[in-house]
Amino acid sequence: MELSTFFQQLTNALSLGSLYALIAIGYTMVYGILRLINFAHGDVFMLGAYFAFYAATSLAMPWWVAFIVAIGLTAMFGMGLERVAYRPLRDSPKISVMISAIGASFLIENVGIVVFGGRPKSFPSIPLFDTVVHLGPVSVLSVSLFIPVITAAILVALLWIVNGTKTGLAMRAVSTDLDAARLMAIDVNRTISMTFGIGSLLAGLGGIMWTMKYPQLNPLMGVMPGLKCFIAAVIGGIGNIPGAVLGGFLLGVLEIMIVAFLPELTGYRDAFAFVLLIVVLLVKPSGLLGKHQAVKV
């Protein structure tokens, strides 16, 4: 392989990986606080993209206004989803909440098909994101330069929120022991609602960035990215925010390198992601950066 080709592939890998990382952060945050795998995360991601699409086309908003409105709406939707689908099951076994999450996921997808239609929609081109940048022999879409910056900014902001603010303290308390947190006068419902709001906000942002790179929307667009980013979160250690970023990058690099070095195995690209998930769960279930937690029986 020529050097320029290698660098191009590396760029491809990093730009895909940073996108995975961005979406995986939201996944892992909700899990870290609530111990709930929010299977509807991918569908909230899809909604974020559609909200931005309708705000930018039907309501003719400038793109940055459309993005802010869409992200706000997605965050509100996430909080609403928590209230309707998860809060009534707060005292039920964890498995009930997970099943409810799967149900919510299917519901959103199918309502999406009815409301948005099955035919794919195309996001209008935004010159700031849709320009090709040449860095020596390597060419890259400008949005791919923004995504790692956004991912890094979000990572720093989240770490600050969780570790440096009162809300974050409440989140960590809820995560450690929900009942004890309630006894310490922490408003548990509000804290969980906040967590979902932030998680969904990140999903919305991820959905918008995804459509900037792959400008095609359909109601099932969140399924595969949702699964891939779940895998990324597990690889990094689910619940661990820097781990999600690491997992996202690893998955992106691996996917691109498989296609680049073993072209005959391209058809199994998605399968590799799932094999990786199984291997991680067998060898190091807590993930690369996750801590092993002893469970008291």
Partner: protein
């Protein structure tokens, strides 16, 4: 407790018996049911929607069929095969079992038709494929027919175009490996192109991707290093549009050629500037009427939908008319008799040309070559077989 269960079971049995008898009385004696077997959601949704538009238009123009002096109302039973091969078999089964259709129309996408083929064969219900071009759809299936040309012809047409019009001597193929249509068409193109160039190495590489993939940068970076004269990328319109867009972003300037699945509004909407100059084979052109019915179709389509017909809508229209024609010739609504009448189709004049079915149930039709120019599909030439 046991008593309660017994009562519930008894009620369930009674209810199911009543339900059955109700369903039977519901079957109107003067209705013939056409099953529409199309992808209305998922990756191929736009293709299915276009064919359904064509079928609906035909139904509006020709809502009844007369058999044995009695007028039958035609009803559509629509089953969504969700662009998924597993779902396709289920959707086919549903049309056969619960909708009890007499004829099936569809599907867009050869792989979906192939998945449901055995279902129709076992149920002995004739199926008329609309734009499924893979030879295996009708092969060894006496109940599957079609109203479109086949991939061996289409592959040859595009290989000729690549060799003569583009002047290409080295080609790269990018195919959707999980899609029978794409893999088949890629093979026929490769065979013809190798024969034309007389060079076994003229296909530099065959690269794969999966349905619903969004990122093709790894494959395209390889294409860039191979420096082909032309790229043949048959596949679903959404993935193809993204492939071409990402190829242009990487600085690949070679022209892209594709098959009939590209001619759909979404291809241009998603690909925008990047798909300018993409060339594909297609079934029909609005400005090149093939039969007296072509004009009727274009005009009534425009009136009903307020836009010019595109892509495969015309084949949905033709499939519906062929089914009516066969019912009239059979003078029966019995699926087996309809099947025999469809098999005997000769010089049937559809909107997209004349159809004469051979022993396999395939017609011989000419292809149209189109190019994307100024955000539209522009007619280039017609190629006769």
């Amino acid at each position: 407790m046991k008593k309660a269960i017994l009562v519930i079971v008894a009620i369930a049995i009674v209810a199911s018996v009543v339900g059955c008898s109700k369903a039977e009385t519901k079957t109107d004696a003067n209705v013939v049911k056409f099953g529409v077997f199309e992808p209305l959601t998922g990756a191929n949704a736009a293709g299915g929607a276009e064919e359904l538009d064509g079928i609906r238009l035909a139904q509006e123009l020709y809502p009844t069929v007369t058999v044995g002096g009695k007028e039958y109302k035609i009803e559509l039973a629509i089953a969504d095969n969700k662009s998924d091969k597993v779902e396709a078999a289920n959707a086919g089964q549903r049309l056969v079992d619960s909708d009890k259709v007499q004829v099936v129309l569809g599907s867009w996408g050869s792989g979906l038709s192939m998945a449901a083929g055995p279902v129709f064969k076992d149920a002995q219900i004739p199926a008329i494929g609309l734009s499924c071009t893979n030879p295996l759809v009708t092969k060894d299936n006496p109940f599957y027919f079609r109203v479109c040309f086949l991939d061996p012809f289409q592959g040859t047409v595009m290989a000729n175009y690549a060799y003569k019009d583009v002047g290409a001597r080295k080609a790269v193929i990018i195919r959707e490996v999980s899609n029978d249509y794409s893999v088949g068409l890629a093979k026929f193109f490769a065979d013809s192109f190798k024969a034309l160039t007389g060079d076994q190495g003229s296909i530099l590489a065959e690269l794969n991707y999966n349905t619903n993939d969004q990122d093709f940068s790894a494959q395209l970076t390889q294409v860039k290093s191979l420096k082909p004269d032309v790229i043949f990328a048959p596949g679903n319109y959404t993935e193809s549009a993204l492939i071409i867009k990402q190829a242009r972003e990487l600085g690949i300037a070679a022209p892209f050629l594709g098959g009939d699945t590209w001619e759909i509004a979404e291809f241009i909407n998603v690909g925008k500037q990047a798909v300018e100059g993409a060339v594909m084979s297609a079934f029909f052109d609005n400005d090149a009427p093939l039969t007296p019915l072509s004009k009727v179709f274009v005009e009534s389509y425009q009136k009903k939908y307020g836009k010019l017909p595109s892509g495969t809508a015309v084949l949905g229209f033709d499939g519906y008319l062929l089914a009516i024609d066969a019912i009239k010739r059979a003078d029966s609504v019995d699926p087996l008799k309809i099947r025999d009448a469809v098999a005997a189709t000769k010089d049937f004049a559809g909107a997209a040309g004349y159809v004469t079915l051979d022993a396999n149930g395939d017609p011989i039709k000419s292809a149209v070559i189109k190019e994307v120019k100024g955000g539209k599909f522009v007619f280039k030439t017609t190629v006769a077989p």
